[in-house]
């Protein structure tokens, strides 16, 4: 039998084969094994499982609205048809296939998950006859129908076994016939489509056939509903399908949740909470959100990043053993003794530190949300519109030192009463929802403020009878006029009497300010914060958002970066002649334009290499040495070809074409 030598299968002897190595061994073996590593791995798995199920729950919750309305649509679309079939509008409707267009957004990677759960929901609630078709599964009509039928047949266990096989075989021969059998068999049928453009041909072919069916009044027997997943806009459907087809679709639009909202919820429930002990540092959070916002809008990827940071945290930070819920962490404090050298630090002390950290977080998130209530409605959003931006800033440094914070306070001082009251009300809700004791009186205080604002309404403010400085119009000269104007101005700015409302507003602002200053300290001011915060941002970036091109560039341009040999040390932009062959060949080829003459290149290469070798002992005869150098040149050139820097060309004999820009 033919097998390519490109693949080699290694199957270990079954008798010898051990029962597979437990994963935690890999966790601990990488580094010097310590007693707590097993515990750390277990904690990792526990927390990850919790986080994962939480994200799944969130997803479900967020999709619920959409799915509910979809289900309603599916249930009504055909039943309505039967009733109205008498009058002519029903007649027209009869010719149309009810279609739901599901706008899923550009985060293509998340669609899979949404569609899968949608299929599940439909199967449970509407009908078992649901087929989900994805572009990758259906490269041609044959596969398309096969999938349509087979997945259906397997699920529903139609009793006629032999007939089944027949029909599957028939499909390959006669598509049309199979459609007949399809319609004969299924009473209620939903088809789901993935939003991939490649499905175009199949869809239209399929639909055309369906419409033929319609014409023979088969719709009664074959009530089909289509659901399209679309990434951007419903115009796509019209563009993909010929008019004759799209005019026969009765399309209803459904909008799924925007991925940004999704992200906010995920952050809110996973990070801005004391439910999960694990936290991200500012840089890490920023990298993750930036990958999300700049690269893919994919929640899945974001969660992958979260998983990786969790893993890295437990893998590389020995203190992470304490990264678990408070009572458990207290029990584990003895692991810490290894890392603390002063004897004075007793176990009780660490326990109280842990407790403090917990309290700190509880208060932190409350005050953060409260501050967010105030800042998220300000014009131009000096501290960001989303809570994650605010969170990032608070993580980074003392927020009150920033200019943005100062401008926030200034803007707060300009707020109108109803705005301020609305914000206070929101804050009050935030505080009420929590049970933290330390901040209990804060809620009370806010309540007081609210009451005071209310009372302002009733006791009509006594108009400050402006001490009319009408000294009468006197004749003055220009000098005096200016002088008096200046005086008036000063008077207004300094001793302008504040209204009661202004006084109260000032109080509120300073109250918020005091809250922020007290509770929003950056986490690195807290003892033991290392146990909870993952801060190695570069590892994350390296593994999630790598730049292979730049790595290649660095390796070729600056070998000293990797090979710490003094001979390779060089200034910016140049390269020593003892560098690896490929670096020299690369550097030389940078000096060429689109085409490179191999002879020139090889000569230049030889020049450099001979010069470098002359320092060594002159043992070999020159002809032989030249040959060796030529061979080295060949190797370097073919390596550059493999890397995609050059390619052979027929434009001119013995030339290669450059494939990269610049580098000049």
């Amino acid at each position: 039998r033919y097998t390519s030598t490109g693949c080699f299968v290694f199957k270990p002897n079954f008798k010898k084969r051990k029962i597979s190595v437990p994963i935690e061994d890999y966790f601990s073996k990488g580094k010097n094994a310590s007693e707590d590593s097993k515990l750390r791995f277990e904690t990792y798995q526990l927390i990850w499982q919790q986080m994962k199920s939480e994200t799944e729950r969130l997803q479900e919750e967020l999709n619920k609205n959409l799915f509910d309305s979809l289900i309603e649509f599916l249930q009504t679309s055909h039943s309505g048809l039967w009733k109205n079939s008498e009058d002519w509008s029903g007649e027209i409707k009869l010719r149309e296939i009810p279609t739901a267009a599901l706008i899923l957004g550009v985060n293509v990677t998340d669609h899979d998950l949404t569609l899968r759960s949608l299929t599940e929901v439909l199967q449970n609630n509407v009908t078992p006859y649901v087929v989900s078709l994805q572009a990758k599964d259906c490269p041609d009509m044959k596969h398309f129908l096969q999938k349509l039928l087979v997945s259906q047949l397997m699920d529903c266990k139609v009793d006629v076994q032999s007939k089944e096989k027949e029909s599957v075989q028939v499909i390959q021969k006669n598509v049309h016939y199979s459609m007949d059998s399809l319609s004969a068999w299924y009473m209620n049928f939903h088809v789901l489509f993935d939003p991939k453009m490649r499905l175009k041909r199949q869809i239209s072919q399929f639909l055309i056939r369906m419409i033929k069916q319609n014409e023979i009044q088969h719709l009664h027997e074959f009530p089909l509903i289509l659901i399209f997943g679309i990434a951007t806009s419903p115009v796509v459907i019209h563009r993909l399908l010929p008019h004759a087809v799209s005019s026969l679709l009765c399309i209803e639009l459904f909008q799924s949740l925007s991925c940004k909202e999704h992200l906010t919820t995920v952050l809110d429930k996973l990070l801005l909470t004391t439910q999960f002990p694990f936290k991200l540092s500012e840089k890490v959070l920023q990298i993750l959100t930036n990958i999300f916002l700049y690269h893919d809008f994919s929640i899945q990827n974001f969660i992958k990043g979260l998983q990786l940071s969790l893993l890295e945290h437990f893998y590389s930070q020995p203190l992470s053993v304490l990264c678990c819920n408070l009572p458990e962490a207290k029990r584990r404090t003895h692991f810490l003794s290894k890392y603390i050298f002063s004897i004075s630090c007793k176990r009780e002390e660490t326990q109280s530190l842990l407790e403090n950290l917990h309290v700190y977080h509880t208060n932190y998130f409350l005050v953060l949300r409260c501050l967010h209530q105030f800042t998220s409605f300000l014009p131009k959003y000096p501290l960001g519109r989303q809570i994650r931006e605010l969170y990032c800033m608070c993580l980074e440094k003392n927020i009150w030192d920033s200019e943005e914070y100062a401008s926030v306070l200034q803007l707060l001082r300009l707020l109108a009463k109803d705005e301020l009251m609305a914000m206070l009300q929101n804050c009050f809700k935030v505080f009420q929802s929590s049970s933290a004791k330390e901040l209990g009186n804060t809620a009370k205080k806010i309540e007081e403020f609210l009451a005071q604002f209310q009372s302002l309404d009733e006791t009509k403010e006594e108009e400050d009878t402006s001490q009319s400085q009408s000294k009468g119009l006197q004749k003055t000269d220009l000098y005096h006029l200016q002088k008096s104007l200046l005086e008036m101005k000063e008077l207004r700015s300094t001793s302008k009497r504040q209204t009661k409302f202004e006084v109260l507003r000032e109080q509120v602002v300073s109250f918020v300010d005091s809250l922020v200053r007290e509770y929003l300290l950056p986490p690195d001011t807290q003892p033991l914060h290392e146990t909870l915060y993952f801060s190695s941002a570069h590892t994350l970036r390296q593994h999630l958002n790598a730049a292979p091109r730049i790595a290649l560039h660095t390796a070729l341009n600056n070998p000293y970066y990797y090979l710490k040999n003094e001979a390779l040390r060089s200034e910016e932009g140049c390269i020593p002649n003892v560098a690896p062959d490929i670096c020299i060949a690369y550097k030389l080829h940078l000096e060429c334009s689109r085409l490179i003459n191999l002879v020139d290149w090889s000569e230049a290469f030889a020049t450099v290499v001979t010069a470098a070798e002359k320092m060594d002992a002159n043992s070999v005869t020159s002809e032989e040495r030249n040959e060796v150098i030529h061979a080295r040149f060949i190797r370097a050139v073919s390596e550059l070809e493999l890397l995609g820097f050059i390619k052979p060309t027929k434009q001119k004999t013995d030339h290669v074409a450059r494939l990269t820009w610049g580098g000049c």
Partner: protein, 576 residues
């Protein structure tokens, strides 16, 4: 590009790509122009210009107050922390500049520069007076305002190279023929004209150099004088102009020398290998250290593979040995498949076949997709199954296609298939769109090894090793060994026939009917269909070429050097 950017409404931040000369002008603007001969290395750093808008001009509906600058900062930091990560060294600004017209002699010059000062590094653009004179910076160095004035000189500037005398001095005596005219354009029609031009130019060399020198002196004050706003507008158009200048002309000046004149025979793989084995490896201590660092990651890789990630390795140097060590140290007790992506006969089908082989499946599948589905179901049913896939060069010619990547991605997304792969090509990441990336669920690891791509390039029709798309001996053997004995017999027949006819100049190949007859007689095939199937196999591996003769009959030919075929037959007989 820049102009559209400028036209756009105020964004918070603008990133503009600006050519070297514009940056130079910019500097001149500011500093009043006393330092014209700036280092180009320095200039490069400035190509990316970041303009930050005042904070309070943020667009209101720009929901995310995207702190681009923060982003850049975050991405570019932690250099010290990650000593071994090349990605962190500098941003992309050096990797993607615009292409400029290149001086045909630059390479030789750089070479001699590098050679002159052994052990020490000297850049082309250091303030060596002799060198700075003849860098044709001029055409780039001056501002847009005097561009038009210089236009008529442009040609001569590009062509004017170092004076002959200097060039002779620079090129080491080893170079063979300097006497003939060496420079010409790539399209042969223009050859003569350019050669003539060149002759003229050499005569004018000294003259034009003087002009250049003058221009440089003149250009500085002009730059200073021009109002900056006006300059900006001109800058863009100047940049565009230069870009098209560099790309419009089909002529590329390179020397006409060919390898034949060099009298260096083309090497085959074997001699190449022998020659290279004489080279003593340098920096072995450092390389070893580098490798050890990578090896420390093995346990982590295993862990992450088990937790649902897949691992991709990138960076300069062959990662074959590294993966091989990973395999021998970690995977001895696991079922695993090693896939040599660089092997010319590899295909997704063969990968899937070996997976089904692992699962002890006998029989065939109607299509690749059926096979994939069968595998998927199998792995989903039995969670105790575990399979490691090691793919060397996932980005190879044969595997980089969209469909192949989709299928491998789907395989790798299975929970109990663990994929660890290496990529080498510069543009390899372009293979994957978001959907595929999420299928793969990659974790990237930079493993720069500086190892030679010995195995990977041995199959390649390397530029200097073998030409005309023929296979080198080693790959011929490789491919043929994988065939059935019958197939080998068929191929041997064809070789013998071709060698018998090697002195016949009008030999066009063996006609299919004759070939079929011969194969039948040797009991190698029983029907002409089997032979045709076999020939398709050969053709896929580029072992044979078919040609329709004038009489409409198919002729079969092996596009391999007769010498290699003789060698091959000898080797085969040795083994038998």
């Amino acid at each position: 590009m820049t102009s559209t950017l400028e036209l756009k409404e105020d964004k918070m931040l603008k990133v503009q790509f600006v050519g070297d000369d514009d940056v130079l002008n910019h500097i001149l603007d500011r500093e009043g122009g006393p330092k014209i001969k700036k280092d180009r290395a320095q200039l490069l750093v400035n190509t990316q210009k970041i303009i930050k808008k005042p904070e309070n001009e943020l667009e209101e509906d720009d929901q995310e107050v995207l702190k681009d600058q923060n982003y850049v900062e975050v991405l570019g930091q932690d250099v010290q922390e990650s000593l071994k990560n090349g990605s962190a060294t500098d941003g992309g600004n050096k990797v993607y500049p615009f292409q400029n017209r290149k001086h045909p002699e630059k390479m030789a010059k750089l070479a001699s520069e590098l050679a002159k000062t052994p052990g020490k590094s000297v850049s082309l653009n250091k303030n060596d007076p002799e060198i700075t004179i003849d860098i044709p910076q001029c055409s780039k160095g001056h501002s847009a305002s005097d561009k038009s004035q210089l236009k008529n000189n442009d040609k001569s500037e590009f062509l004017s190279t170092a004076p002959r005398g200097l060039r002779k001095r620079l090129i080491v005596p080893r170079s063979h023929s300097d006497s003939e005219s060496e420079y010409s354009a790539s399209n042969s029609e223009d050859d003569e004209g350019v050669a003539q031009e060149y002759e003229e130019d050499t005569n004018e060399d000294i003259l034009s150099q003087k002009i250049q020198a003058q221009n440089r002196v003149v250009s500085a004050p002009v730059c200073r004088g021009t109002p900056s706003k006006k300059m900006k507008r001109k800058k863009t158009s100047h940049l565009v102009e230069e870009y098209f200048e560099a790309h419009s002309s089909s002529k590329v000046l390179t020397s006409d020398r060919t390898l034949q004149k060099l009298k260096r025979a083309k090497l085959d793989q074997q001699t190449l290998h022998n020659l290279l084995s004489k080279v003593s490896p340098s920096f072995s201590a450092e390389l070893k250290q580098l490798n050890q660092q990578h090896e420390q990651l093995f346990h982590k890789w295993m862990l992450q593979l088990h937790l649902g990630f897949n691992i991709v390795l990138y960076g300069l140097g062959s990662k074959r040995n590294l993966l091989e060590r990973f395999r021998t140290t970690m995977l001895q007790d696991c079922i695993h498949i090693v896939i040599n992506g660089f092997f010319p006969g590899i295909s997704v089908k063969s990968i899937l076949n070996s997976v089904t082989e692992v699962l002890d499946h006998m029989g065939t599948f109607r299509s690749v997709l059926d096979q994939l589905e069968w595998i998927t179901n199998k792995f989903k049913e039995d969670s105790s199954l575990e399979l490691f896939l090691l793919i060397h060069n996932l980005d190879s010619q044969m595997l980089r296609g969209d469909k192949s990547q989709q299928i491998i991605g789907q395989l790798s997304s299975l929970r109990n298939i663990y994929l660890i792969a290496s990529i080498d090509h510069l543009n390899a990441p372009l293979m994957w769109d978001h959907a595929k990336q999420s299928l793969y669920n990659w974790l990237w690891y930079e493993t720069t090894t500086y190892s030679h791509y010995t195995e990977e390039t041995s199959y390649e029709n390397s530029l200097l090793v073998k030409q005309s798309g023929s296979l080198p001996l080693s790959s011929l053997i490789h491919v043929l060994r994988s065939l059935t004995p019958n197939a080998r017999g068929i191929f041997r027949l064809l070789i013998k026939y071709q060698l018998d006819n090697q002195d016949n100049p009008s030999y066009t190949g063996l006609c299919f009917q004759d070939f079929y007859q011969q194969c039948r007689e040797a009991f190698l095939v029983n029907s002409d269909l089997t032979l045709r199937a076999q020939l398709t196999e050969f053709r896929d591996h580029k072992l044979i070429r078919t040609k329709k003769g004038t009489d409409g009959v198919e002729y079969l030919l092996i596009p391999v050097d007769n010498g290699i075929l003789t060698d091959f037959l000898e080797k085969e007989e040795e083994e038998l």
